[in-house]
Amino acid sequence: MAVAPFAAPVPVQAESLERGSSLWRDGWLRLQQNRIALFGLWTFMLIGIMCLGGPFFTGYSYESTEISLRASAPLERIVLKTEFRKVGEPRESYLALSSLEDEFLGQSPAERRAIIERVENGNEFREGNAAYRLSNQRHVFGTDPLGRDLLTRVLIGGRISLAVGFAATLVSIVIGVVWGAVAGFAGGKVDTVMMRFADILYALPFTVIVILLMVIFGRNFVLLFVAIGAVEWLNMSRIVRGQIIALKNQEFIEAAISLGLPTHRIIFRHLIPNVMGSIIIYTTLTVPNVMLLEAVLSFLGLGVQPPLSSWGVLIDEGSRTMETSLWLLFFPAVFFTLTLFSLNFLGDGLRDALDPKSSKD
């Protein structure tokens, strides 16, 4: 049983080679096993795609008003009214079938009902210089009080809300994590000064800051999420600092220090990844907060300008007309809620997937 000293190495099968794996790769594999998280991911991407491309396919504009249509219910039949004028083209306008009655208030209820039935059965009704006929228009989500298709509005609103949500959150994460980590790790005077600075910023009246910024730089849409992000980072930094302080006294950090690793490496390579779980959780809490904050700003007149809209604005408008047109609240709220649910499930899944300790489960 002599082993040839210089025998050629046995060719090894590729599959049996252990591929070097990183935290992120492991995480992705684990995430794929978490069905709820995947559901969150796909739902969110679906909504994202709908908001990006959807408005082109609905066939309606988000901004052109049709005030005679008012707030029609989802899938309600729409009547086309053609008025023949002495000079020029006949004028076309749209009415909801339920408000057709208001056109003939001068006649008796029985006559009105007859007219409505006629139109409902697909016939044309003429009175004076106006003709009424059923049209092919269908609004899946109904229309808003100015007659604009709600589905299109919700999708456009989604673009704004998502853009604001992510941009502002990104701003707040970057600033907040770095700030909190540095403060927590450095401790002492640096920590005190940094956190006092955060305290001061937190106590400043947010409305005044935003009004001021809006005035100096104009009603800039980008400015909106910088302003929001600049306020949101404060909480993030607090949480991160708390966690860092708890972690920095642990042995593995002591080891890193005694190994002579530079501070920024310790912070970014060792401390922050361990705080990742809290960061992700807090991020998934920040995005809805940001979107709601944007809604409050719009409600105060400082957010997106009409005819653009956002989910927050649509929900606010819808909640005011809750008792008469529930769909105006329902659909934006469903989209909003669904997005946030998805982000949360995804966030939870990411948290579980990325936590190196949970792999022992």
């Binding site: 401790g187 001061i200 937190y202 708390g242 708890a246 809805p288 929900i315 649910f341 936590d355």
Partner: protein
Amino acid sequence: MIKIIAGRLLQLIPVLWIILTLTFFMIKVVPGGPFSAERQATPEVIAQLNAYYGLDKPVWRQYLGYLSKVVRFDFGPSYTYQSESVNEIIGRAFPISLQIGTLAFCIALVIGVTAGVIAAVNKNKLLDYLPMSISMLGICLPTFVLGPILALVFGLVLKLAPVSGWYGLNYVPLHPAVMPAITLGFFYAAYIARLTRGGMLDILNQDFIRTARAKGVPEHEIIFRHALRGGLLPVVAFLGPCFAGLISGSFVVEKVFNVPGLGQEFIKSVFNRDYPLILGTVVFFGALIVIFNLVSDVVQLLLDPRSRK
């Protein structure tokens, strides 16, 4: 410990001074003054009013004059509540916001922590998804939607709570603070639930828990005695801003239920450019926030010996 508290309280003074100064100069830059109205008064009148309130002096002199009054705790007259001083306004409005805020805080804490613990312990089962989903709803439903819904249900339909006002509403059983507090508290309960769950899960994954289980320590002891303390850490870090936010951010519920609290006063003062009232409320809220952050940090220190030097 005492040294830390005393040190932080001393720091309150420069912090408040900075807040005051920054706000003072910011609101001077914002356009629109306190005396403009849809029906414009004559320039003589505006000049007269500016002179009366000292707004015609150079900004530096205004600032110093204001500082000298603030040091004596006099925040000046209000431009919109013309027969009241800022001190009086804060004195009547703050207790109302405090009542609502405290009640909401209790609701948020109790419901949030309970839900979070239950969810963490029953991870990935129904008892996890159910409370977390309901809490998600709390975050997604803005207060200006939840409020009117609750007002509708409990005020109009069940006639249990008042829909508007604060005084003299003794013909309904629930105090006017209850519905606003629930509306507000629900939102923060959701936050706290998620933070609790996250924190608990972090702790429950650690080795010392595993050891305790292996040693046969009963599950409820593990949860309450070992895990909870560490698991509540992120919540405690959040409590300071939470309480301060409840008090100063109650603007929307105060508006929906028409409650004369300080949050509403503050927002109105910004829109009316009522400078003394803006400054007074900002300094007041600033002090509150700093104090609550201090309390939160102290509790954090108490709970986690690792963070002591």
